[in-house]
Symmetry: C2
Subunit: 370 residues, 2 copies
């Protein structure tokens, strides 16, 4: 998508064709800075410190992280270490183990001398597949938006609420939840986005608002607490969020607070959709609350806020009494019963095992049913 | 309650017996500073800038604001102006017009020369009544807590979730939602409070956490989005919030986000109580969503965050892209159907007209039924 009028991806090869260029998302929205990953440690650091975040982009970065390591040392031990180090960076997103398994199977039977070339090739494929999946998600979601517009009379724009950042910054391009919105906007459909701030890391306020603004999509930032009120007053037509991990039964693990927005949508008869590439479906799981471990993140994310001073400096300020303890679960589970539908690269389906199997029949026998 | 071991109220007469001392709540939790109100303009400014906030404390401050003005000029015109100026400071809390009407009826038949004395007397009564009401709310809520403890086995402490600040800083002393918690703690019942940060003004993080900490009550600060997740995992036994305004039918208007916590409580079978003095019941209203105007507050509350730097200075930092618009509704409506019960100074009742009339039978004929 566009930054300052120039089209780019969230991750791309640098001019040398081997280093990898990312956008340092920890500096947004105040500074747009790219960063070059030159080795495995750089990739591990970029994921661990959330310079890159979002399930699909984490997977893409991990894939290139393996490539960077194969360039330095293509041995079996080195491949094993790269996969282990990258796997340990973040516990929740299923794309991370998925992408690393893709890299492992692409490389383990390849002679070491050929591994660098093959690794870069597979990483590029993973990125291109992600872009194509996101574009397809956008097209399927766009049809939902068009259908919803036809049921309304005389009220433009269509108001969509989203939580966290499931935009192009979270993927390689287009995004998941935002892909239908970008497509609608690009095709001239009047659309306006309510952007949840998304405490504690403010990904909505700092990333979603920034990328929508750069692309020219009308939007308004709100506190995470405001969505229910807006829905009560008829000011939200549709919710679309991303998903970090979806069970085979349609439970959605996404940024903390997604569950509350889904409850409010249900209470006010607002359709609540989740957009996801199928790579983020965990076909082995059937109960999100019981089976998905929730990452407990550092309390400083809540107790300290990063922002820009009047002088233009970026600083962190403490917002809590120094002695108050903090709990900071990073994700929650939205049960399938609250999800109107799942928007995948193959189409839109009910949030259920039957719905998902309808789109992905090759998975029919694969998952253990509980 | 206690600050640094010393018992005080949120508003009290200064040593001269006429000026009024408040706690400047905009500086908490980083600095505890009291401020002296010497005239009507000081009182108007203190309410308008939220140095004092919380429905009962706003009412008490407005009452003393009339007293300060009567001291300067006790004429009818002056009384009228004081009431008008104070009434214009905040639109939502019903205690403000209630307290001003109390002052008007106490003063309008009194000769100007006697008005100062009478005004201070009535303001002191309003404060003492508030303290007594809050203590009574605490006692009734404490019985709920004791009853809830008896239904659980072997799991201490009892975990209570609260939103915003309905503690002693929001009233004259004790608080509403926190009164049962302070009483339980003081009587040796193991209790722990999940404190919602309460964006955008962070009253939970900056006020509730601070006052619980000063009084020694165990607590943990969480993002507003985290409550649903904690309830899903059985980590919340009870929710208690305050109310800025309650309809005769039990709809609760409270800090934005209260509705989302109530939805999560319902979805997880967690009891959800609202604690309120009856002065905050608006007996003329029967539909909170249709009838209560929601204050739209300045967007800078969301786009700028005040906090303390590593150097100890308190600064504001911008957290949004400069070009992103903001919406900032200050309150929402929690429909009575989601409220397990109302804790008032006369006891606990169902959130319904019948429930409220049961406790306040003198209101049986007074409200228009729709």
């Amino acid at each position: 998508m566009k930054v300052d009028g120039v089209v780019r991806r969230s991750i791309q090869l640098a001019a040398d064709g081997r280093s990898v260029e990312i956008v340092d998302q920890t500096l947004l929205p105040h500074r747009f800075v790219t960063r070059t990953l030159r080795n495995l440690a750089d990739a591990v650091e970029a994921i661990g410190s959330m310079r890159v975040r979002g399930a699909p982009l984490i997977g893409a970065t991990a894939a290139y992280g393996v490539g960077l390591q194969m360039r330095e040392e293509p041995s079996d031990a080195s491949l094993k270490r790269a996969i282990e180090d990258l796997l340990a960076t973040r516990p929740t997103a299923v794309n991370l183990p998925w992408a690393l398994e893709e890299m492992r199977s692409a490389l383990h039977d390849v002679p070491p001398a050929a591994r660098e070339e093959r690794a870069y090739q597979r990483a590029a494929e993973i990125c291109d597949e992600d872009v194509e999946n996101c574009r397809a998600i956008g097209e399927h979601g766009l049809r939902l938006i068009e259908a919803l517009r036809e049921t309304r009379t005389g009220r433009d724009p269509l108001n969509v609420l989203t939580h966290c950042n499931a935009g192009w910054l979270a993927t390689v391009d287009w995004g998941t939840a935002l892909a239908p919105i970008y497509l609608a906007h690009d095709r001239g459909i009047p659309i306006h986005v309510w952007v949840d701030e998304t405490r504690p890391r403010n990904q909505g306020a700092s990333l979603t608002a920034w990328e929508l603004g750069e692309h020219g999509v009308p939007h308004t930032v709100i506190a995470d607490s405001a969505g229910g009120h807006l829905m009560q007053r008829g000011k939200v037509d549709l919710c679309i969020t991303g998903s970090d991990r979806t069970t085979a039964t349609g439970d959605v693990c996404n940024k903390i607070g997604t569950y509350l927005q889904a409850l409010a949508a249900r209470d006010n008869a607002v359709p609540f959709y989740t957009a996801l590439p199928s790579s983020s479906i965990d076909w082995t799981l059937s109960d999100g609350i019981a089976e998905i471990p929730i990452e407990e993140r550092d309390g400083s994310e809540l107790s300290c806020v990063r922002g820009r001073t009047a002088d233009g400096d970026t600083v962190e300020v403490a917002v809590l009494p120094a002695s108050s303890p903090v709990a900071n679960p990073g994700f929650d589970i939205t049960p399938a019963r609250l999800v109107t539908g799942l928007i995948t690269e193959r189409g839109v389906c009910e949030a259920s095992r039957a719905g998902l199997i309808g789109l992905f029949p090759e998975r029919a026998g694969g998952a253990s049913d509980s």
